[in-house]
């Protein structure tokens, strides 16, 4: 399992983040992103995942993040800051399964090995 800091993610472009995630997940690793992805990066990750699905090799990803907060703070609005992504867990679809999820907690089951 790889825990990737928000600081590292901030320095990466969207494409670099998506490539890093997919390369790790395709080799069976679980990735935890401290600061998550933006909504646009999430759909681009799903899009890229679809192009890389191969029969008997890679069936896709399991990705779990929390719903966005209701709205940004007063200062976020004043300064036009977008709401930051929230902690996100991503893994191979055949190895990670969500047991339960709500606004505040994500419970997942991870299978190790075949």
């Amino acid at each position: 399992m790889d825990l990737i800091s928000g600081e590292k993610l901030e320095k990466m472009t969207s494409m670099e983040k998506i490539r890093l995630i997919l390369d790790k997940v395709k080799t069976g690793r679980i990735v935890v992103l401290e600061s998550g992805l933006t909504p646009d990066e999430e759909v681009r990750l799903i899009e890229m995942t679809m192009t890389e699905i191969r029969v008997d090799e890679f069936s896709g990803i399991e990705i779990e993040s929390y719903p966005s907060k209701k709205e940004g703070s007063f200062f976020d609005k004043i300064f036009g800051r977008s709401i930051k992504g929230r902690m996100t867990v991503i893994g191979p679809a055949n190895q990670i399964r969500t047991i339960e999820k709500d606004k505040y907690q994500i419970s997942t089951k991870v299978s190790v090995g075949d």
Binding site: D40, E47, M50, T51, G60, P67, S68, K101
Partner: protein, 212 residues
């Protein structure tokens, strides 16, 4: 050319405001088997009389190409709105052909459907860039905290585009729209049965309010 084009746009907006004719391109999104095509068929049937819009199946990813119906005029809540309805393929983060085999499809058919389903998800994502609003269809009997729901809602919020949640399958005994409302309280929600047509007038009123 820039001035002429800008003038044309302004003139168009001015004429539109005078005649109060509103038009919006609305995408129907959701996970596979939430009832997107059943809903799209009902809207198109109710307001254009067309009965030949999309196929419905219990096998996931039946819709693997986006279907579009232009110029559907909905009259509700004292106003009129013209919609281009786009029924999109089910969004998913994983597609395993073996899941289709469990529905009785052959291995070859399952692999073909899986390949087409991946292309369908990509097409659904591409449509997000070209819409004025989204009807997000959720199965009221299922857990609403799916990543597809979270991602679609996050994208609409980031783009500041209107979103209406449709809590579908209210005809089923274990439907629980309250769970959906609790999960996404910041968005308008209408509970319906697209299959039976119950509460469908409430949906049309909500469409007029949210997209008009």
């Amino acid at each position: 050319m820039g001035f002429i084009s800008s003038f044309k746009n302004s003139l168009g907006a001015w004429i539109k405001s005078i005649f109060k004719k509103k038009r919006a391109k609305i995408g129907i999104y959701g996970p596979p088997n939430a009832g997107k095509t059943t809903l799209a068929k009902r809207i198109v049937h109710d307001w254009s009389g067309d009965d030949d819009f999309g196929n419905v199946s219990h096998i996931p990813h039946e819709t693997r190409r986006a279907m579009r119906k232009e110029g559907v005029v909905i009259n509700a809540n004292g106003s009129s709105i013209e919609l281009d309805i786009v029924d999109t393929p089910g969004m998913a983060t994983k597609i395993d052909f073996k899941e289709f085999m469990a529905f009785g499809l052959s291995e070859a058919e399952s692999k073909k459907r899986a390949k087409e389903a991946t292309e369908g998800v990509i097409e659904a994502i591409k449509w997000l860039d070209d819409l004025d609003g989204v009807l997000l269809v959720m199965d009221s009997t299922e857990d609403p905290y799916t990543q597809v729901n979270v991602t679609v809602i996050g994208n609409m919020e980031a783009r500041k585009l209107p979103l209406l949640i449709v809590a579908n399958k209210m005809d089923l005994p274990n439907a629980s729209p309250d769970r959906i409302k609790a999960a996404f309280p910041q968005h308008a929600m209408v509970q319906i049965s697209a299959l039976e047509g119950s509460n469908i007038d409430d949906l049309y009123k909500a469409i007029a309010i949210n997209f008009g």
